[in-house]
Subunit: 312 residues, 2 copies
């Protein structure tokens, strides 16, 4: 894919973490996690100009950053701070349909102040991972007029820093959230109405990630929906939404335009990367994919959703 890429650059700001994950496939400790890890890895399949801004602690295995570098991700913006890396401990139900957080140790992430190096300030696309909206805005202030700003957020910020979040959203083009976050942000249960309300807050597009119910895209022009590809083997849903975001942003960087049809295609590449991610633990499902394998799964989405028009 790189040969055709227009090489628009993507800057990803988010968490880099270590996860302990328990569930039907046993306890796995110290897995690479964090939104930026999944987003960057997924996006790197579509554009070779991906940079991460994040922070890790003393305990973070150097190998993980080497792995990201090896697939072309610029990790020079990942700060090393004294202390423990952000650590999430969670347990999935036997059917993987729900999870509970057993422990969250923010470690060095608690005092994370993202610094965008001069070489990253001209990024064409910026993805603001799920961090304090004050920091998200601060990142934007450090960049120089990106073509597209996309962002994620979560219940903690929607409830606790609403005013700050609204200030950030005013400068966000695409918001990617799950359905509960969309409902909470819009204070409206109906997803269509919720999306319409969010479209008045700044974003010109809202992507609602719904796990095994697929994903929806709302813009001023209408709505696009894609079902999730039903998979036989799902081992770890962690990072599915971030992998979606990575495939989505990576494709936009690759395509080089933000036309409505390009964004629809990006919804599919996002779905493709999420479907790979959940088949293995951590970012393992995103490792070593060939262009042919990605194309094959894209085509599987075409086949999944194909039907003819009729004249009744």
């Amino acid at each position: 894919m790189h040969a055709k890429s227009t090489h628009r650059s993507l800057l990803v700001v988010g968490s880099v973490a270590l996860d302990d994950i328990d569930g039907p496939f046993g306890l796995h400790r110290d897995l690479l996690g964090g939104s930026a890890s999944f987003i960057a890895r997924a996006a790197a399949y579509f554009t070779r100009d991906v940079a991460v801004v994040g922070v890790v602690g003393d305990d973070f295995p150097k190998q993980h950053l080497d792995d990201l570098s090896a697939v072309g991700v610029d990790v020079t913006g990942v700060e090393h701070a004294p202390g423990e890396t952000f650590h999430w401990v969670g347990r999935y139900s036997d059917d993987l349909s729900s999870r509970e957080t057993l422990d969250t140790r923010l470690g060095v992430f608690a005092s994370f102040q993202p610094k965008v190096a001069p070489r990253h300030r001209e990024a064409s696309l910026v993805f603001l991972g799920n961090i304090d909206p004050v920091l998200q805005l601060d990142v934007l202030e450090q960049t120089h007029g990106p073509l597209l700003v996309a962002a994620d957020t979560m219940n903690f910020w929607i409830g606790g820093k609403r005013a700050e979040l609204l200030r950030t959203l005013a400068r966000v083009n695409t918001l990617l959230v799950n359905d509960e976050e969309a409902r909470q942000l819009a204070e409206e249960h109906n997803l269509r109405k919720a999306a319409a309300r969010i479209l008045t807050m700044g974003p010109s597009s809202v992507v609602i990630k719904r796990g095994d119910a697929g994903a929806l895209l709302f813009t001023g022009e209408g709505v696009f929906g894609v079902p999730a590809l039903p998979l036989s083997d799902v081992r770890d849903p962690t990072g599915a939404g971030d992998s979606f975001a990575g495939g989505f942003m990576g494709y936009l960087a690759y395509a080089g335009d933000l036309a409505p049809d390009t964004i629809r295609t990006a919804m599919i590449t996002g779905s493709v990367m999420a479907s790979f991610a959940v088949e293995k633990f951590s970012v393992d499902g995103l490792r070593g994919l060939t262009t042919a394998a990605i194309q094959e799964r894209f085509d599987a989405f075409s086949e999944l959703t194909r039907f003819g028009s009729v004249r009744l």
Copy 2:
């Protein structure tokens, strides 16, 4: 649509009920409900040869049957028995995302013994609504080699009459269930694996109705998925799955073949009719639709799911 119809006949066996429904739009009493009511009304838009076998009690307003007759449904197979009509009382949560059954009075439905009149025994398509699987099989014994037998079932029969249900399923071509029913029947949480298991029980296709997550079709040839159309105004989800079944069966009767692509199209017409049904109470959302309105919503599903192929 009737002009092009091949007029394959559809026989629907199921409940005809009166519902009391409470929720965010207030309490509505004595609404027409029951699976056969929704299925027949939805199907009647696609083929004029729809007959219902069911039972009602002394309290059943004649107007409801007259209304069905007026849209071409043959209600001569609806038996009148002394006693109360099947009555369901339910309450939806404020956001319509869940409901609880407050009361179920089976009334005359408790001793329902479906009798298929000679004029209905040659039906091309038979839909076995959610009744005792022993009765479903008995209905099949009364018919003469229909081209397609479709059936619904529910947790009560899956748990309580599993052996009988499996005997019936052996003669069913298409099973239409929701995701929990599919999981319970297959004893498998993963939907893809659950569908694969059900496909070994007799049916050559399994339709999984997932409410606002859309619907999936599994066959030996693969999987087809359609998202639900996000709607601004949902007033009453009752009968959505049955309206889907009606649009699905009606289109198959209309199209006159059971080719894989025809079944995919039927998944869309099913989704179309479900989307109309939930916008109003009872069968009101299915009343008075023009061919143009149905076509417009079909086209909305085309637009909802449209994306181009790419060569990565």
